[in-house]
Amino acid sequence: MTIETARAGRAGPRAARISAALWRRPWLRGALTLSPALAWFLVIYLASLVVMLVTAFWSVDPFTNNLQHQLTLANFRQVFTPTYEHIIWRTVLLAALVTLTDAVLALPFAYFMARVASHRVRNLLFMGVLLPLWASYLARVYAWIVILTKGGTLNWAFRHVGLPEPNIGYTSTAMWLVFSYIWLPFMIIPVYTALERIPDSLIEASSDLGARNSRTLRGIVLPLALPGVVAGSIFTFSLTLGDFITPLLIGGTNSSLIGNVIYDNIGTANNLPFAAALAIIPIVIMTVYLLTARAFGAFEAM
């Protein structure tokens, strides 16, 4: 496409004037491009979060469920009691465990995809990672119930090879397994992106300077993959922190997570203020996590 045809093409004199005016006023360009998204976020998203935040300081009439608009700290006092504290702790630990598991599973996989596989194999692997996201989350969790339950495929397989049946249906082990499974693609993709960006020249330089493979791995590859891992961990951590469906379906007793308690207080108790107070906990946790992640450069790796 030559310059002449481009110039002789669509741009009329008026368009050229507008374009020039915008060029001279970068702030206007910036404002125009940014404002719709910003308006959306401020007016809808941030405002709704703030409304919820304020609701946490209100209370609810137990009979008619109408909100009483007097400020009170009662909800927060209740959140910081052992009942809820140990649920919060359990959720955070599970989220951390799931994140660790997914990082361990994803790193070699992403390394293979990014640096070892041929172009065609890489495309196939990428498809293999994306395709499960299209099979409904609910159906996949339910499939795990079918696999892990007493009359399910896992027990059957163990029985057939003569091993004792693991019987991990409706346990915390099951929850850890299912969470790690569901969020794995969200970890693989950023790690792959980070690894794929490492130029060959860097690796070659490292070995030219005499480093063995393990040294290169420790010194070059892993540090450069770290932002990708941290970016993926944002997803695995926050998704576990807020999920209530997986514990509902595949958890047993001692499986309630923060998400369940929040959901119960919205649905069962119609106690929005208390649910909002509970919801602030994951918000605070994730904000701290995000700020830490940004320091690691995770935002560029997403």
Partner: protein, 273 residues
């Protein structure tokens, strides 16, 4: 760089992870053919009956159509808003820039249930009835993030000299945008759009709180699981969806070359971006 032994170990690991990823999918597919509603192993009778049930079920159709509508609307809105935001953040330095980039990550970083109840109480506070509109609003909020991230990542990786050269050669701002910037971004936009659509299509937590009496496909699946009378039908529906989406996913992977710019074409080293 990697030795042969390392490659073999890696390959085995990859196969293991793939098996992990696909065993539940295989379970879904196999149990779609189970005649019995009780999903236990081994299966005694196989049948294709449930596929025909799913095909003729009007609730499946309406919920599928609603999911498609919501997904398309959310993706289009997200494309417009998200790419614009990515441009602004990339090109301009302004007051609160860091804050904006933090803000634009929140919908995905904060748990879905938080977004869900925040939006639900916001709508009820403003006496807005729940409907397809509120579903789309909920979905757009996190779709914007996906598009924004993808476009921003691509913008960071392309050099600005092309735009400058175009301007030097006399093209107007619009022309530069249309003939230079857009093509460079196209694959990032497509990949982002597909990921955003996938997230919207399968979203259940935020949708539970923002949907009224309508059912998107995930809500229908949740209802079907609750009643528990036609579980193989759920599996059949998922098999349909998987079969339909294999093609677009393959195309998208092809287009983006498995993630965008390949190693050999990266011209800058980490350190500038």
């Amino acid at each position: 760089m990697e030795g042969r032994a390392t490659r073999i170990v890696l390959a085995v690991w990859v196969v293991g992870v793939l098996m992990f990823l696909f065993i539940p999918i295989a379970t879904i597919v196999i149990f779609a053919f189970d005649r019995s509603n009780v999903q236990s192993w081994p299966i005694r009778h196989f049948t294709t009956h449930w596929f025909s049930v799913a095909w003729h079920d009007p609730e499946v159709r309406t919920s599928l159509v609603l999911s498609l509508k919501a997904g398309l609307a959310a993706t289009v809105l997200a494309l417009l808003l998200g790419s614009a935001a990515a441009f602004a953040v990339h090109r301009f330095r302004f007051f609160g820039r860091e804050a904006i980039s933090l803000l634009l990550v929140l919908p995905l970083a904060l748990p879905g249930i938080v977004t869900g109840i925040a939006l639900q109480s916001f709508f009820s506070y403003n006496k807005v009835n729940l409907s397809l509109v509120t579903i789309v609003i909920g979905h757009t909020t996190f779709c914007i993030v996906v598009i924004y991230n993808n476009v921003l990542a691509r913008l960071r990786r392309t050099s600005g000299s092309l735009q400058e050269a175009s301007a030097d050669l006399g093209a107007s701002g619009f022309q530069t945008f249309r003939y230079i910037t857009l093509p460079t971004l196209s694959t990032a936009i497509i990949a982002g759009a597909l990921l955003a659509f996938a997230l919207s299509f399968d979203e259940v937590i935020v949708t539970t709180f923002t949907a009224g009496a309508q059912n998107t496909l995930p809500l229908w699946i949740l209802g079907a699981i609750r009643v528990g009378h036609q579980l193989p039908e759920v599996n059949a529906v998922v098999v349909f969806v998987l079969a339909l989406t294999t093609i677009p996913v393959a195309i998208s992977v092809r287009l983006t070359g498995g993630g965008g710019i390949t190693r050999s074409s990266v011209r800058h080293t980490p350190g500038d971006s």
